[in-house]
Subunit: 287 residues, 2 copies
């Protein structure tokens, strides 16, 4: 049971965590913190949070657990503002999509309290954003990756592990570096490809007609291009090196396909598409 | 009312057309034609078709409407086999995803009967395939593009227009060239990007883990990579030039993004992602 939970950044991810813990009767009081009072009041009205403040220090001051659920670019400031406020018993965690950059700024800002910080990343979300997009069921059956350091307090890790389990998630442990490499491939790269496709098509002359004739496949393919631009700007800054390498190598994969198309190489085309289909069908399920 | 409808190639597209017309009581008898008798028998058992034959000539011989719903690469052979069989009252149409190549082979094979051929393309489908994937509702509210030539018999066009309307579709008219340009952008290019992403990721060392941590966005994004490889091989052969140009230009769009990531240009990243999000939200709807 968490007596007092502080959620810094009450968007879809933070709101869903609060709702899931309330549904599990695993938290007594949730204080939300953000810059937008209208949004925070909406969070209270919707029963997502019990109270709110725009002061990070105030939110963290008596919290048992502080969750940073802001875009990555805002986390350094939050760490700096809570480091002298939180007690030695407070557990700090985050929900950022890249972990290396978060750990770096946390180490600098938290100093001695770094052992109380458990870096985390729930693999869930949608192209929606904001407190009203919060869903108590968002984490049911989803994975949450935790990337504690050797120096992280095992009791703190246990507390965050338990918190996410109470939301219905299964917990996985990865190193910071491994997390960032894998997520760059499965999440960050696809978002870059989808954003770029929509931008490319919208720059074409007949773009109104192009979107008019878009079918279901296109809608699915570009859904993630409706994701929050601030979040993805920050991911690019946080995990840029891994992303740049993936984009370059992806272009080489595209070139292999272009060669097969230009050569009208039917066997090779069938091999490329057949391999992709069987990989996806077997690994993802035909869902 | 169509008295006798011949569907050459009873996969998801052909089966869904048959089911929709039956549900609308707009057809008396559907004869299916294909190479796989087991699949054709399944079509009869499922009530999709009323009878079947593996002879294209036999299927077409007394049909009022012949629908070519095969992959693009099989269409030339079908046109060649039906040209001397069909009556001057028979209307021929197809469901191919590219229209230029179909019109070219039809012109050669059909000769005088070219006026009876109405090139068509229902903008519907899924990553599923086969007769058992047929759905009576597949075309409800979807668009069907017809690309008749100046020489096409207006009565034949009217018949096919009406046929698709009875399936719940809305009909759009485009030139062959315009169709192929637009579909290359909205459909063919996204399929190439999705196939290439899955192949690229499956070649990485830790690909099992990569797919393990794939979230909903990745599943949506790569759904079309589960599409039929034969169909997409044929699209690449049929519409290769348009596709090659789009892939090259898409790579230039990716390069612009890479520059912004490398320069850590936060304003530019926000601009790129914000533009894509607002384009997609406004043109596609946040669906």
């Amino acid at each position: 049971m968490i007596d007092r939970l502080a959620i810094i950044g009450v968007g879809m991810i933070g709101a869903s965590l609060a709702l899931a813990l309330k549904q599990a009767r695993a938290v007594n009081h949730v204080v939300g913190c953000g810059r937008n009072q209208t949004s925070l009041q909406k969070g209270v009205d919707l029963g997502v949070i019990d109270s709110y403040t725009t002061s990070i220090a105030e939110a963290a001051s008596s919290a048992d657990v502080v969750v940073l659920a802001t875009p990555l670019g805002a986390m350094q400031l939050v760490f700096e503002q809570i480091t002298d406020i939180v007690s030695e018993h407070t557990v700090i965690t985050d929900t950022g999509s890249a972990k290396g950059s978060v750990v770096r700024v946390a180490q600098t800002a938290l100093g001695d309290k770094m052992a109380q910080f458990v870096p985390g990343h729930p693999i869930a979300g949608a192209e929606k954003s904001g407190v009203e997009a919060g869903l108590a069921s968002l984490y049911q059956g989803r994975r949450v990756i935790l990337t504690p350091l050797e120096s992280t307090d095992p009791a703190a890790v246990g507390k965050i592990d338990n918190m996410w389990q109470l939301c219905g998630a299964s917990i996985e442990y990865l190193s910071v570096e491994h997390h960032d490499k894998i997520l760059a491939a499965t999440s960050h790269l696809p978002h870059m490809l989808a954003y770029s496709l929509v931008n490319y098509l919208s720059n074409l002359n007949d773009h109104d007609e192009i979107f008019k004739f878009a079918a279901g496949g296109f809608r699915d393919f570009t859904r993630i291009a409706s994701s929050d631009p601030v979040m993805w700007r920050d991911v690019c800054i946080a995990n840029g090196e891994a992303l740049l390498e993936l984009i370059e190598n992806y272009k080489i994969e595209l070139d292999q396909l272009s060669v097969a198309i230009r050569d009208r190489d039917q066997d090779r085309l069938l091999e490329l598409f057949g391999k992709a289909k069987s990989e996806r069908d077997s690994l993802i399920g035909n869902c």
